[in-house]
């Protein structure tokens, strides 16, 4: 069966709601409209207005009430309409969703899933194309995952909803229409395990979410140059599978991290810091970073220059190999 990432996530929500009536889906326009990306399509008509509902236009309200619902005993799945509209909810995400369990000494459990369509590449510009994952990864108490394939879309959303910890699912919106030939439901290894998507011997490409496809394309293109790239899909950004990264770098001696977020304190910084610490003597070149620039997200017509792409990755591969 051909399934897009959006369909896979839709199916994950449907299956989770069917299996457990404590699962609630809500956010802006997720009900009747089915979400601006149609990821929640059909949920309201199937499960009713009490299980899938539109909220007032207030992101702090969405996350804050999700917390209250979770304390009551529900398993809320909240949608933030776009990456750039998560910021009004920052206080609730960072001070409460992330920390209430710890604050309560383990008494309160918050099985909340927050779905965030993120990243660029759809010609939409500021607020609609941002990659805020660093903010969540730096925040203790959050689990942050990002699927790079339709099967991971299904599996990770199911795993997030099943988790008793709050989980932020960063959904690469430019890949919503990416197809895979799979039978749903699928299973997958737990999200905290990174996966080698393609084996290689020269350089490890560490990536996640929207950049998995790009990294695979780069590996393909690199072959022509005679370079063998290993593509490691992190899948979970927090926790991060440091062991898998280190194991790969120990084989290749070189690593490049790819992400859309700006470079400074983008995830690549943490990967680099960990790799140089854990594989110091294995590194034959510094860990390099193929990322967005440290500027605000550009206007749509310029995003192609801003976003990391195959060329930017290959430039760095060349630089890495030159060490």
């Amino acid at each position: 069966m051909t399934v897009t990432l959006a369909q896979a996530i839709n199916r994950a929500l449907t299956d989770a709601m069917a299996e457990d009536d404590r699962v609630l889906v809500f956010g802006e326009d997720v009900g009747r409209l089915g979400g601006v990306f149609r990821v929640t399509d059909g949920l309201q008509s199937r499960f009713g207005e009490q299980r899938c509902f539109d909220t007032p236009l207030a992101e702090s309200g969405i996350i804050g009430t999700a917390i209250g619902l979770a304390i009551y005993g529900y398993r809320p799945v909240a949608e933030m309409q776009f990456d750039g509209f998560t910021y009004p909810a920052f206080e609730q995400l960072v001070s409460h969703l992330a920390k209430l369990r710890n604050r309560s000494r383990g008494t309160l459990t918050l099985p909340v899933t927050v779905r965030i369509p993120y990243g660029g590449g759809i010609g939409a510009g500021e607020h609609h194309s941002e990659s805020p994952e660093s903010y969540w990864v730096h925040t203790a108490g959050l689990t942050v995952v990002s699927p790079g394939t339709p099967d991971d879309g299904y599996a990770m959303v199911r795993e997030a909803i099943a988790s008793d910890d709050p989980v932020i699912v960063m959904e690469p919106k430019r890949r919503y229409w990416m197809k895979a030939d799979i039978e749903l439901p699928v299973t997958a290894p737990p999200a905290h395990e990174a996966l080698v998507r393609r084996e290689g011997t020269d350089v490890t490409i560490v990536c996640y979410g929207p950049m998995v496809r790009t990294a695979l394309d780069a590996a393909e293109a690199a072959e022509e140059e005679g370079w063998s790239l290993e593509v490691l899909d992190l899948r979970s950004l927090s926790p991060m599978d440091t062991e898998a990264i280190v194991a790969s770098v120990q084989r290749t001696g070189r690593a490049i991290v790819v992400h859309e977020a700006g470079r400074s304190l983008g995830l690549g910084a943490e990967v680099a810091a960990r790799v140089q610490e854990a594989a110091f003597y294995h590194l034959e070149a510094p860990v390099l970073r193929a990322t967005g620039f440290d500027t605000p997200y550009p206007p749509a017509k310029l995003e192609g220059y801003w976003l990391p792409d195959v060329d930017r990755i290959l430039d760095l591969v060349e630089r890495s190999l030159a060490y």
Binding site: G84, E126, P298
Partner: protein
């Protein structure tokens, strides 16, 4: 009356004077009949009425052009103001030239009143650049996408004007959905306490994308929110250009006179999809749309002008022609407009030069050079 309203907040007067009247102010019937109201004098001469009409016609025409441009792949997305021309044009008309407007993303009509070149706004939707007009030249702030956030900017600006004894007023536009966000709440709180000369103009077009007003708030009306900040709450038929003008003018002049901020709820209807990416058939019926069409603001003023013999066929044709020219100018400016210099992405982030950004700029420059080489090599 202005003074009465002012004193209400300080407990000197019955606070219920801050509540909106039971019915929104309405002066012009759909057939053009004018009901004068001594509390809401219009005070526009015939020439001004014609100008208002002309501006609404231009707005509608340029708006349609933008939709067409989007359909033709020239814009990524566009948020139409069809049906909201009176709410925008007549309210902006009520300002003095020095007053500032803080729009959301839908205020083409207000922008045209302020002589902002529509093409400059559309560059945001095309993705050429994030904005392309000078806010100071037009006293028209940037379009604002994150809902309601600009209400605080308008309030801070108005605080500044008050501190500076500058008798200007700011007007901030946001939608029915926007009233739910925290920022407009905080803005009205600050404005009330600081007596900032700001008018909060809510275009209640009944929807926030697909979410109807009844799911947005349980308030009796949006204007009932004002009293919670010590502001008077006004309501007007937002498809009635004369009522909108009169009510806005009253609130603006009250603020200018130092009597503080106000909230206006203008009742209107979003005739188009939320944006060109939206599919409203999923959440509203044709019947609803047809009923709303009967309240069209442009037809209404046209009927009035026709009834009073102020508008003849020739003038009307002239307006339509001018509107078509404006639309064509927008089209010419937008169609296949080349993208800007990618290196400019580094130019406006900071005033002070930064070594780190300069280095990244060099990286991009090198990438561009390599791309050119590659293209050159391929050719």
């Amino acid at each position: 009356m202005v003074d009465d309203l002012q004193r209400a907040g300080s407990g000197q007067l019955d606070p219920t004077s801050l509540l909106p009247p039971a019915e929104p102010v309405h002066l012009l019937d759909p057939d053009g009949t004018l009901h004068e109201d001594p509390d809401h004098p219009v005070g526009l001469d015939d020439a001004a009425l014609l100008e208002l009409h002309r501006t609404m016609i231009i707005t509608r025409r340029v708006d349609r052009e933008a939709i067409n441009l989007q359909r033709q792949g020239q814009l990524g997305v566009y948020a139409s103001c069809l049906g909201q021309e009176a709410a925008q044009v007549a309210s902006a008309w009520a300002l003095q030239d020095e007053d500032w407007i803080f729009p959301s993303y839908r205020e083409l009509g207000a922008a045209i009143v302020r002589d902002v070149d529509p093409a400059d706004l559309l560059h945001l939707f095309r993705g050429t650049w994030l904005s392309d007009h000078d806010p100071y030249e037009h006293r028209f702030a940037l379009l604002s996408i994150p809902i309601g956030t600009q209400a605080l900017h308008a309030t801070g600006f108005a605080m500044g004007a008050r501190f500076d004894d500058n008798p200007i007023v700011t007007v901030v536009y946001f939608g029915d959905g926007g009233t739910s966000e925290g920022d407009p709440h905080e803005a009205m709180t600050f404005a009330g306490v600081m007596r900032a000369p700001v008018v909060f103009f809510v275009q209640n077009n009944q929807y926030a994308i697909s979410v109807p007003l009844a799911k947005q708030t349980a308030a009796p009306t949006l204007a009932h929110k004002a009293i919670g900040y010590g502001l008077p709450g006004y309501r007007c038929d937002g498809n009635d250009p004369l009522a909108t003008y009169a009510v806005t003018r009253r609130a603006v002049e009250r603020a200018r006179a130092g009597h503080g901020p106000a909230l206006i709820e203008a009742l209107t209807y979003r005739m188009e999809a939320h944006t060109t990416s939206d599919d409203p058939s999923r959440y509203r019926s044709d019947e609803e749309l047809e009923a709303a069409a009967l309240t069209d603001p442009i037809v209404r003023l046209r009927n009035h002008l026709r009834n009073r013999d102020l508008l003849d066929d020739a003038t009307e044709r002239r307006f339509e022609e001018e509107a078509a020219e404006r639309a064509q100018a927008v089209r010419d400016a937008i169609y296949d407009a080349p993208h800007g210099d990618p290196l400019e992405l580094f130019d406006h982030v900071y005033v002070a030069p930064r070594a780190d950004l300069a280095a990244q700029r060099d990286e991009l420059r090198a990438e561009l050079a390599r791309r050119e080489d590659d293209d050159g090599g391929a050719a």
